[in-house]
């Protein structure tokens, strides 16, 4: 069967009532978490992952829970713009760049224009990236089928190197974050020799089962991020009104075509930045804003409410969220913290992420890709229809939302693993995350690392067994070699920048 037939079949399955219903529910939840400051796609997906077991039990397949979670991811990308525009506070980090022009336009009394531009750009970005995904995924999966342990480890190295070289965060702190995630993933038992290891404080009760990914993810994003949001916003917010009537919506839709250039730049750039491991939607949207401004005939209008300045980041964050799914599905490497949670979900539902998915589990892959198309259409319709409701929700006191999130986090972790040790560990990680964030330690690398650790360690060790302990195995193979070299260049990149700065300083 060719790709088109597989895709059409996938869309057909995605349109089945249960999947359609789950996509709709996911979009609504996603719009909600994306809209609420302090919550983003990763929080929504991490907190709700334990609840997807029910969906899997009900439907007997892994596609439906994945469609649900992917829809949350999509919805959140749409929702982020709503609070960026009407509140001036990004609903999620992915919508930071949307505040630059979205907020000024809202302050001019044109909030509905900004909201519609954001929704349309998100739709175009999501659709273009899904088309690119459909074309690229089977090809990449085909290439990846030839990968052995050294190639997979080289890709892992590339993922971590991207964080070090391109994330823009403090480098030693980024490395610490990566190490924390990787070491935590090694707690419990050595999967190769079966020997117990890193039983911290010699406690078998607490650590013999290892540290579960969800415990860290919900601790960081359910508890830690909520504490940070309470601390940063101090519960003080001011909403711009958006007067949304059908006639205004129609006029705003016509006006949104003015932003075609930003939309296009964001859509294409976002996809490719999204593919990069560790990059994700936030840098994609910031980059798209920058490039759009650079290529604009009127760059001075950026920052004052330029339609392109709203469209570019919004198209980019949606596009990047699809792009980030590409390495997750085809290589088993997540491109963003949210896709790391999705990857962990796939493992929990009994799937093996990676190139084999396309050959062994076409019943999972193609309905999911089909659901990207379906979810995108649902998202733009629901988004435009729900704007007034979402604005009302934004007035929901943060203390109520925060208390519910805390309860959901605690109950979710207990339900997933059914022991209190993990609940205590989650609280510890949450409070640690709050303090580490204050000190500007990036947390996303740790979340990705705890997911990638169980893949990275065995592939490294098996590669070294294969080569009798010779590290050159990562350099002298035709596919692993170039990937490792790129990874090394990325790791060294900050040092080159540092040396160049020093050299300029001495001149």
């Amino acid at each position: 069967m060719d790709v088109l037939a597989l895709l059409l079949n996938g869309i057909w399955i995605a349109l089945e009532p249960i999947n359609l219903g789950l996509a709709l529910l996911g979009i609504i939840i996603g719009l909600f978490v994306g809209t609420m400051p302090g919550l983003g796609s990763v929080n929504g997906v991490a907190i709700l992952l334990p609840f997807t077991f029910v969906i899997q039990q009900m439907t007997g397949q892994a596609t439906s829970p994945m469609i649900f979670l992917a829809a949350i991811y999509y919805g959140a990308m749409y929702g982020g713009a709503i609070s960026s525009i009407t509140l001036g506070i990004p609903g999620a980090s992915t919508a930071v760049a949307t505040t630059f022009d979205g907020r000024p336009l809202a302050l001019q009394g044109k909030a509905e224009n900004a909201l519609v531009i954001a929704a349309v750009a998100s739709f175009v970005g999501g659709t273009i990236s899904t088309l690119l995904f459909t074309g690229a995924a089977p090809l990449l999966a085909n290439v990846a089928l030839k990968f052995g342990n050294p190639e997979i480890f080289a890709l892992m190295l590339l993922a971590f190197a991207t964080f070090v070289g391109l994330s823009g965060d403090d480098i030693p702190k980024t490395v610490i974050s990566i190490c924390i995630g990787l070491i935590l993933s090694a707690v419990g038992f050595d999967i190769i020799s079966g020997a117990p290891r890193l039983l911290l404080f010699d406690s078998t009760e607490w650590f013999s089962r290892g540290i579960q990914f969800l415990v860290l993810a919900i601790g960081f994003y359910g508890i830690g991020e909520m504490l940070s949001t309470i601390y940063e916003t101090k519960n003080k917010t001011e909403i711009s009104e958006a007067n949304m009537t059908l006639d205004r919506l129609r006029r705003a839709l016509i006006k949104s075509s003015e932003a075609w250039k930003g939309t296009l730049i964001g859509s294409v750039l976002g996809f490719f930045v999204g593919i990069l491991p560790a990059a994700g939607a936030t840098p994609a949207s910031l980059m798209a804003y920058g490039v759009s401004k650079m290529m604009s005939k009127q760059p001075t209008k950026f920052g004052t409410g330029a339609p392109d300045g709203i469209a570019a980041p919004e198209a980019a964050n949606n596009s990047a969220s699809t792009g980030a799914m590409l390495p997750m599905m085809t290589l088993g490497i997540p491109g963003s913290p949210t896709t790391a949670v999705l990857l962990a979900g796939m493992v929990i539902w009994g799937l093996t992420p990676g190139p084999q998915l396309f050959t062994d589990q076409p019943d999972f892959v193609w309905p999911l890709i089909g659901s990207f198309y379906v979810s995108n259409v649902i998202a733009v319709v629901v988004n435009l229809a729900f704007i007034p409701l979402l604005l009302r929700l934004l007035r929901m006191p943060f203390s109520i939302l925060a208390s519910l999130i805390f309860v959901l986090s605690v109950v979710g972790v207990f339900a997933a693993y059914q022991n209190m040790y993990d609940v205590w560990l989650m609280l510890f990680f949450g409070i640690a995350a709050f303090f580490l964030r204050l000190l500007k330690y990036p947390l996303a690398p740790a979340v990705l690392a705890i997911v990638l650790g169980p893949i990275a360690e065995p592939t490294l060790r098996q590669s070294l067994i294969l080569s009798d302990g010779n590290w050159m195995i990562f350099l002298n193979r035709p596919i692993a070699g170039p990937i490792t070299i790129v990874a090394i260049i990325l790791i060294l990149l900050p040092f080159f920048h540092f040396l160049r700065k020093q050299w300029r300083g001495t001149r």
């Binding site: 030693p172 490395v175 020799s193 208390s403 609280l427 060790r461």
Partner: protein, 177 residues
């Protein structure tokens, strides 16, 4: 901020040393295996040992923690030059009230179970911290555990612990389970 930067980096460096020490532990059932015998790259021609991965990662983490300390000492990082307090007065109060409430919430679960602790936590948070009306606080504090009971215990059969309140649930079990 400056002090906090130093203290955190030092704690991370110390934790790295502890993790290096723990990584080198041999299997408990074989006391003849020496500490750090498992961290080599090719032990007895059978590849890296069980401690190889965590040990060397801990070394990298320790070096990075020293780099953070170095940057802070030389005043190269923004935080090490900052004279702002690590936690403002509001932050300290928030940590005590919110962090303390979370700690108390989980501790209470150990004694009176989820269905005793959830309403108390929600009521405290919404009524005392959020300063909302008594009716709203009571409404949410009752509705959430009721929803949780029907969702977890009844619908998906994940029985949440009830601690000392277990006897009160026996009649409900008879009706719904």
């Amino acid at each position: 901020m400056r002090v906090a930067e130093f203290v955190t980096a030092t704690l991370i460096a110390l934790a790295s040393i502890y993790l290096m020490w723990k990584s080198g532990e041999g299997p408990s059932w074989d006391p003849t295996v020496k500490r750090f015998a498992n961290i080599g790259i090719n032990i007895d021609n059978s590849g890296p040992g069980s401690g190889f991965w965590p040990f060397w990662l801990s070394v990298v983490m320790m070096v990075s923690a020293f780099a953070v300390l170095g940057n802070a000492l030389l005043g190269k990082s923004e935080l090490s030059r900052s004279r702002k307090p690590f936690l403002t007065h509001f932050g300290l109060r928030m940590m005590l009230s919110v962090g303390g409430a979370l700690f108390g919430f989980i501790l209470l679960i150990e004694f009176i179970g989820f269905y005793g602790a959830i309403p108390l936590f929600l009521f405290y948070y919404i009524y005392f911290l959020g300063r909302h009306s008594l009716a709203l606080a009571m409404g949410i504090a009752v509705a959430v555990p009721v929803f949780c009971f029907f969702f977890f215990d009844v619908a998906i059969r994940i029985v949440l612990p009830k601690g000392l309140l277990e006897p009160a649930f026996l009649p409900l079990y008879e009706i719904f389970l």
